[in-house]
Subunit: 219 residues, 2 copies
DNA sequence: GACGCTCTTGGACGGTCGTCAAGGAATCCT
DNA sequence: AGGATTCCTTGACGACCGTCCAAGAGCGTC
């Protein structure tokens, strides 16, 4: 787009047409700033919560003026939706590979329990935001699809854990994926609630709870 | 009402001093209107969610003008807090007596599962509001104490169920109250999510999930 | 150096919010 | 009946919201 007659603007001898490169670079720049703004938004959102975060506040924390958000995002819903998707990527990526490293049942149990307790402690504000947005999706129709998609990916993540554990103990899962996710997520949500309220034993209880619940899901 | 000079409005001959009666009646009237307004607020809140409900909207749904809310409540937080307490009473009262009627383990399981599925279907909007407010309490310091109190009462409610079931099967609970509550509440929250999303098997899955999880909590 | 384009700014608009005060309406008491 | 008190309405205020827009800055291209 808007390509002029310049054949090669950069030093790289590209085989692609210059118009493509220019377009790609512009797109990349655009997408990169989108990501950057979404990162700042995610940070502000996790600190203040969805209901109390305004676009002006997000922009201020990002170092830009409030008008720029409407240059990169159609409206507030577009921004939040993009943030939620970014959150999903960040979340699933973090949990990948934990299950695969364990070779013994108890090691898997300990690994998963520690991983859950670890991310709960480290990304507490992010998880808080997740439960906030999940609640909001029950009222705001616009969020429902994206939230449901993330919830499904989390359910699949837990289900992979159950399947791996079943394989290590030479058994098969005896429950549905949604049952496994619901109970483990319940433990996680409760632990987050108590952790943020200052309960010192929240993390240990989460670890113990996961180690207790997972074996009941196979047989 | 609109009584004229009649000395005795009611038929009951009160021995209390008139001033006391007057004061009490005024207090009762004040408290009664508070309850009435809180009821309307609870209804509006459950339909629109905390973040999207304004005092003007609550007042309009209650049939009063928006200014009256500040006559009966100090500010918005005072109103919401009062509503939450009212919600707690409504919720715990509804669940009382379900456990006591069962005399066989399987009847208890079925009763509890049906009760949970029933209230989820019937009071779905109210439960949605509860999870909304519980999420808000993670951000808004003012709600935290009241929400934690309700959460405790729910945990105790589940724990009573576990103890009753353990008694019927001649065993004792083998988990902590918070573990029992976390897993059951996880099942309930997930079922609510799917039920409101239109999943037809959400209620059955909740029933099956409760019937499966409860026996694993005793031994 | 002038132009064209992308990127960014900051102000303005209409709307809604919580809060409050002044005054009218209803009710109560003597 | 009439004054005192309680109850409720109405309108206003300042603040903040999402959104839009005109204008300027930055910068590579001719």
């Amino acid at each position: 787009m808007t390509s002029t007659s310049t054949p090669v603007p950069g030093s790289v001898a590209g085989s692609a047409a210059p118009a493509d490169r220019i377009a790609r670079r512009q797109v990349d720049k655009f997408a990169e700033r989108r990501r950057q703004l979404a990162d700042a938004a995610l940070l502000t959102l996790s600190e203040r919560g969805y209901a109390r975060t305004s676009l002006r506040e997000i922009a201020k924390d990002s170092g830009f003026s409030h008008g720029v958000l409407h240059y990169y995002f159609r409206d507030k819903v577009d921004l939040i939706t993009y943030c939620v998707r970014q959150y999903k990527a960040h979340c699933v990526e973090r949990h990948d590979g934990i299950v695969a490293t364990a070779t013994a049942p108890d090691a898997l149990l300990a690994g998963v329990a520690d991983a859950l307790a670890g991310t709960l402690a480290q990304d507490a504000l992010m998880h808080r935001l997740w439960y906030d947005l999940r609640s909001q999706s029950l009222f705001e129709e616009s969020f429902r699809a994206d939230v449901a998609e993330i919830d499904d990916s989390l359910e699949r993540m837990i289900w992979r854990t159950v399947e791996a554990y079943a394989g290590l103990v030479g058994a098969v899962p005896t429950c549905s994926p949604s049952f496994a996710y619901a109970t483990v997520d319940g433990l996680f949500a409760q632990a987050l609630l108590r952790h943020l309220a200052g309960a010192p034993d929240a993390l240990d209880d989460l670890r113990a709870g996961v180690r207790r619940q997972l074996p009941t899901l196979v047989g």
